[in-house]
């Protein structure tokens, strides 16, 4: 469904990603792991066209999206939840959800149904519909960030550290939601620093180091590889 072929990308004069290739098949959940500053977020931003790839090719559902502007990439069917949610803080929960919906869905009559899908996953958002997004707790903000990626009726969800900085109970709620989404047939590309979250959701993982993919395997294999976990990801063996 999504393929990166030798993608190079960066900010200004700095190149952050070197020759990154990866594949996410339909219905798969794939994690992108790595320590801080290794290029995980940049990879997602390159996919979304926010940091356009300088070299290589990005293909989504048989369309070459490498040179497309972000809004066209999003409209092809990618739901994006950026790092730290990045909600529109002075707008309400409903307005935040409304933005991707009106941009991506031709049929406005599907609004109640799309909302219901989000609220079923995150009942707490239903209680906070008219609250300003900026007034939500950290966990609720991440939930709304994921909700925003869902209402467009997309098939691929691209999620950037949806559990970052959250309390363990909230992390559990979000991990449960991500597993539900996967079981509903969504394709997921998940960036995580928290390896346990990634293991709980994804069946395959790529490890990024200094902007290059240095390891690719199933999460079951990766889980056993204590040496690699310790060395590359800083997880205590």
């Amino acid at each position: 469904m999504l393929e990166l072929h030798g993608v190079t990308a960066g900010y200004g004069d700095t190149t952050v990603l070197w020759d990154v290739s990866l594949r996410v098949g339909r219905g798969e959940a794939v994690a992108l792991l790595g320590r801080n500053g290794m290029g995980k977020t940049t990879t997602l931003r390159a996919i979304m066209g926010l940091n356009p790839a300088r070299g290589g090719r990005i293909v989504f559902k048989d369309t070459d999206v490498t040179r497309l502007p972000p809004f066209e990439i999003a409209r092809l069917g990618i739901g994006y939840a950026p790092e730290g949610a990045q909600l529109f803080a002075p707008l309400t929960v409903l307005q935040n959800l409304r933005i991707p919906f009106v941009n991506k869905q031709r049929d406005r009559a599907r609004w109640p149904e799309q909302l219901e899908r989000v609220f079923q996953l995150f009942p707490r958002l239903a209680e906070r519909q008219s609250q300003l997004a900026g007034s939500l707790s950290g966990g609720e903000q991440q939930m709304l960030g994921i909700g925003r990626a869902l209402v467009g009726g997309d098939e691929l969800l691209v999620l950037d550290e949806p559990t970052e900085g959250l309390a363990p109970t909230v992390v559990t709620a979000i991990v449960d939601a991500l597993r539900t989404l996967k079981n509903q047939g969504y394709t997921v590309l998940l960036v995580e620093q928290n390896v346990q979250t990634a293991f709980a959701v994804a069946e395959r993982a790529y490890v990024l180091e200094k902007g290059r993919v240095t390891h690719a395997s199933s999460t079951t294999d990766l889980r056993q590889d204590h040496e690699l976990l310790a060395r590359r990801l800083g997880v205590g063996a």
């Binding site: 979304m48 066209g49 926010l50 502007p69 972000p70 809004f71 990439i73 999003a74 409209r75 994006y80 950026p82 990045q86 529109f88 803080a89 002075p90 707008l91 307005q95 409304r98 933005i99 991707p100 009106v102 941009n103 991506k104 925003r148 467009g152």
Partner: protein, 290 residues
């Protein structure tokens, strides 16, 4: 009693400032650019009104001027501003581009309508005075105030209640993320620029019978508009209303009780005094339209 008269004068001038400044502040909020050519549409509106009004009447003049200036604004945005923004060259280069457009337009206006200041006619039906207690006040000036009040109320509703308004807000808040949510920001930015140019044209039609119409009016007013925008706080519509009225009043009282140029001097003094205490202006908050 003359004080009350000056308050009314200040409100009328302030109304024109508000119409014009609201667009400047919205475009800045969306694209981070300063559009020096904004005054051109205002000037063009005033001149077109002088030519059109005797032939097609006031209401049609307003419509025609809106259409013409909005289309010209669209042309400027799509051919000039948008490429600069896309090449990540906004800021100074847009400023220089729009300054150039304004200089050319001002010279062309001189060629087309002559260098002599003119005053356009008060529309039939809005001539004469209304008695407000002991004061007799021109009906047309009251009309300008009412027009602006209704327009700003409609704008506020559009911003907070319509889908387009919410998309516009999301672009102002975080253009990048909004586009990653599927918002066609380039198209919406063009639309807003065009609508704003159209409103500037209407402001020119309205201002014609009140302020004089001359080929450098697009620059003279612009300076005061920047004062209004900065004093109100960039990106704040409420700020525009408050500072527009404030600067209108300062101007009216300055002109009435001091000298003709005192209005501008006082306006700057007020702006500087406010910025010392509130560097973001009266209602300024980074990256928000409200």
């Amino acid at each position: 009693m003359t004080a009350v008269l000056q308050v009314l004068n200040g409100l009328t001038i302030g109304a024109i400032y508000i119409l014009l400044a609201s667009e400047l502040t919205i475009v800045f909020g969306l694209q981070g650019i300063v559009n020096i050519a904004h005054g051109v549409f205002y000037m063009l509106g005033a001149y077109l009104a002088i030519t059109l009004y005797p032939r097609i009447g006031f209401a049609l003049t307003i419509v025609a001027v809106f259409v013409v200036t909005a289309l010209l604004g669209l042309g400027l945005e799509v051919t000039g501003v948008r490429p600069l923004v896309r090449w990540r060259r906004p800021g100074t280069q847009v400023l220089v581009l729009t300054l150039g457009v304004a200089i050319i337009a001002s010279e062309l206006t001189k060629l087309a309508w002559g260098p002599v200041p003119q005053l356009s006619d008060v529309p039939a039906g809005l001539t004469g005075v209304v008695s407000l207690g002991p004061i007799l006040y021109p009906k047309y000036w009251l009309f300008v105030m009412a027009f602006t009040a209704i327009f700003m109320a409609a704008l506020a509703v559009a911003f907070h209640r319509t889908t387009l308004g919410i998309l516009v807000q999301s672009i102002a808040l975080n253009s990048e993320i909004s586009q990653a949510m599927g918002t066609n920001a380039p198209r919406i930015n063009s639309m807003v620029f065009a609508l704003g140019s159209g409103v500037a044209g209407i402001a020119g039609v309205l201002a014609g019978p009140i302020l004089s119409v001359y080929p450098t009016m697009c620059f003279d007013l612009l300076i005061i508009l920047f004062v209004v925008v900065i004093l109100g706080g960039l990106g704040s519509l409420l700020g525009i209303v408050v500072s527009g009225i404030l600067i209108g009043l300062v101007n009216a009282f300055g002109v009435a009780y001091l000298t003709g140029t005192a209005g501008n001097i006082l306006a700057f003094a007020v702006m500087i005094a406010v910025l010392v205490f509130r560097p973001l202006g009266l209602f300024g908050r980074a990256g928000i339209l409200k």
